[in-house]
């Protein structure tokens, strides 16, 4: 077993979660003001992102999807370059060619973000195969939603990863929503885990709003993959607190369900826990939040001051 997270680690995870939250909220504000294209936020899912990503080492790789800001920021992405990418500026991670949906950052080990639902699942076995065959130690964490788990490629990917014993950590962020459709309408059971488990790999469900629980499960899974070689599966049960694609009035959302999940906000849960344990004072927590705002002030300023790509960029990077 691992040693428990230190106080400092927990505070820094709290700060990472707050950074993700405020990044997305501020982006949504910008969007509402007509200054940014629509985006998919993952407000409410910060614990899943931070819990898993903080369990990865420098050699490990990440594949993600359309709700990637949390994964990127948890991995240490520069908020300025991330926002610049989302705003289509040439200083962004992908020179402004990705926008918010397909941001990858090779230097951070964030490879191959796909916005085709399930696309990242199709790529993950190959990335892991390359790790294995080239003798690199890194595990490949692949984030996807419950909606992606309803795509056939989910089964193809898990099956191949098991058969070929590939080092993939499949992370299903079950946020209850599949765009505008509630998971209950499309899945006979509450969880994706039984489908995963049927493929014969270690598969667990974890409270996706409890960052400590997610982190413990992820550390255990990563260790298992390193020792046993084959893949593992984690289902983080969480909730998408904002709409599918900004702007979204969430008119289709059950108000009671939303309220119930808001009362389990992962950031408040962790902050409260740290304050109750005497690890963090109210004043220190306020200070963390101020620091996050200052970081984001600078990041948004950098991004908005950055130039758009020139029209010549339209046809560069098509072929290698």
């Amino acid at each position: 077993m691992h040693r428990p997270l230190s106080d400092t680690e927990q505070v820094s995870m709290l700060e990472a979660m707050q950074l993700i939250r405020r990044h997305e909220e501020r982006l949504a504000e910008l969007q509402a003001a007509g200054r940014a294209a629509g985006t998919c936020t993952a407000v409410g899912q910060e614990a899943a992102a931070v819990g898993v990503v903080h369990a990865l080492g420098a050699d490990d790789l990440i594949l993600t999807n359309h709700r990637s800001a949390g994964h990127l920021l948890a991995r240490g992405a520069d908020p300025g370059r991330l926002i610049a990418e989302i705003l289509g500026r040439s200083t962004g991670y992908c020179k402004g060619k990705s926008g918010s949906l397909h941001v990858s950052a090779r230097e951070l080990g964030i490879v191959l973000t796909s916005t085709i639902v399930g696309g990242e699942l199709s790529l993950a076995p190959g990335v892991a195969l390359a790790q294995r065959m080239q003798g690199r130690p890194g595990v490949v964490a692949c984030f996807f939603g419950d909606g992606a788990a309803c795509e056939g490629i989910f089964h193809e990917a898990l099956n191949l990863a098991v058969v070929w014993k590939l080092p993939v950590l499949f992370v299903c962020e079950n946020n209850q929503w599949q765009a505008y459709v509630h998971r209950k309408e499309t899945m006979p059971q509450d969880h994706v885990r039984p489908w995963a488990a049927a493929h014969g790999l270690p598969a667990v469900v974890v409270d996706g709003n409890d960052v400590e629980a997610v982190h413990a499960a992820a550390r255990h899974a990563v260790d298992t993959i390193r020792v046993q070689g084959g893949p593992c599966f984690i289902e983080a049960v969480t909730y998408r607190l904002r709409g599918h694609f900004e702007p979204d009035d969430q008119g289709y959302v059950d108000a009671d369900e939303l309220t119930a999940w808001k009362s389990r906000d992962p950031i408040q849960l962790l902050a409260r826990r740290l304050i109750d344990r005497g690890v963090l004072s109210e004043g220190e927590w306020a200070h963390v939040r101020q620091r996050v705002e200052a970081t984001l002030d600078a990041a948004f300023a950098f991004a908005e001051a950055s130039p758009f790509p020139s029209a010549d960029e339209l046809i560069t990077d098509v072929y290698a």
Binding site: Y93, C94, S122, M133, L160, D317, A320
Partner: protein, 323 residues
């Protein structure tokens, strides 16, 4: 020079490239079973059987390519590529661009295409235009053993995703193949027969049909030039235009259906770039806009044959000049 069949040329290209570069690996449904010699020489790590799941075969190739391997996947029959379309079109074709050039996708997807087996439309469909239309991909479709070997080796060394179509009817066709490290560059057409009255442009098995038509046209004193495109994307515009400028007449021949086919692109290109030199309208001879039948005579009638090409040329030469 050795004489070998197209299938042997493919096998020798695969073996040579796997020997040359340890990043090259091959997988697909039954690949390790059917290519026992590769399996024996390179081992189970680099020659792999997969589940019957085209989407994950192609996706795995794209992921592996992005991270430094050079996979060759065999998708068996071109129609099965529709199940692999997401990975080929949306991942391999687009993620280099979307990532601002951070990743490249050096992979090859092989598939058999075309008439010759009598198995009907779900195993016989010329899908090349779909892939030509998708950005970020290259598409090759050779006609001789020599080109199969040289283009496959180039495709494996290319840093981009290459869709490599194997016309089923050509598998046992034999021809001379240069010895040694024989490479044919992707994107260059070749004049298979020189002529001055009309250009017949084609690729894959219909190149042979054009050559036969040209031969019998020659007996009537008509000199037809036969241009084998070999590569559909990138397309050798210069080679195509040079030939049409010389002859002033163009017949495009392919087995794939007509609407939005490769022939339409070629016709448009020639009209845009060489219109003043055209002595007659451009003619397309293609398969119909219909699924391929299985009955052998119908299957053969699907494909433009030499007599039809000859007739088209004769009709064209009777056409008055454009202006």
């Amino acid at each position: 020079m050795h004489t070998m069949t197209v299938n042997q040329a493919i096998a020798s290209a695969l073996a040579e490239e796997m020997r040359r570069d340890e990043r090259v690996l091959m997988f697909g449904e039954g690949v390790a079973t059917k290519r026992a010699d590769l399996m024996q020489e390179f081992g189970a790590e680099r020659v792999r059987n997969t589940p019957l799941a085209e989407a994950i075969i192609a996706g795995t190739a794209a992921g592996a390519a992005a991270m430094g391997l050079r996979p060759v996947v065999d998708l068996l029959f071109a129609p099965f590529m529709t199940l692999a379309m997401d990975a080929l079109v949306n991942s391999a074709g687009k993620l280099r661009y979307l990532s601002g050039g951070q990743f490249s996708f050096p992979m090859v997807a092989l598939a058999h295409t075309g008439a010759g087996w009598g198995v009907g439309a779900q195993h016989n469909h010329n899908l090349e235009a779909l892939f030509v239309h998708a950005p970020g991909l290259k598409v090759v479709m050779p006609s001789t053993a020599d080109d199969f070997k040289g283009l496959l080796k180039s495709a494996i060394r290319d840093d981009n995703p290459v869709i490599f179509f194997i016309d089923l009817a050509l598998g046992e066709a034999a021809g001379p193949v240069p010895a040694g490290d024989h490479l044919v560059p992707i994107g260059q057409s070749v004049v298979r027969r020189a002529g001055c009255d009309v250009t017949l442009v084609s690729y894959a098995k219909t190149v042979g049909h054009c050559l036969r038509a040209a031969e019998s046209l020659a007996q009537r004193g008509i000199s037809a030039e036969v241009l084998d495109l070999r590569s559909l994307k990138p397309l050798d515009e210069a080679g195509l235009l040079a030939s049409v400028r010389k002859t002033g007449r163009l017949v495009v021949v392919h087995e794939a259906s007509r609407t939005c086919g490769v022939g339409a692109e070629i016709a448009a290109l020639v009209v845009e770039r060489a219109f003043p030199l055209l002595k007659a309208p451009v003619v397309r001879l293609t398969g119909p806009d219909a699924p391929a039948p299985s009955s052998r005579p119908l299957e053969q009638a699907f494909v433009p044959q030499a007599p039809a090409i000859e007739q088209a040329v004769l009709a064209l030469l009777r056409e008055p000049a454009l202006s």
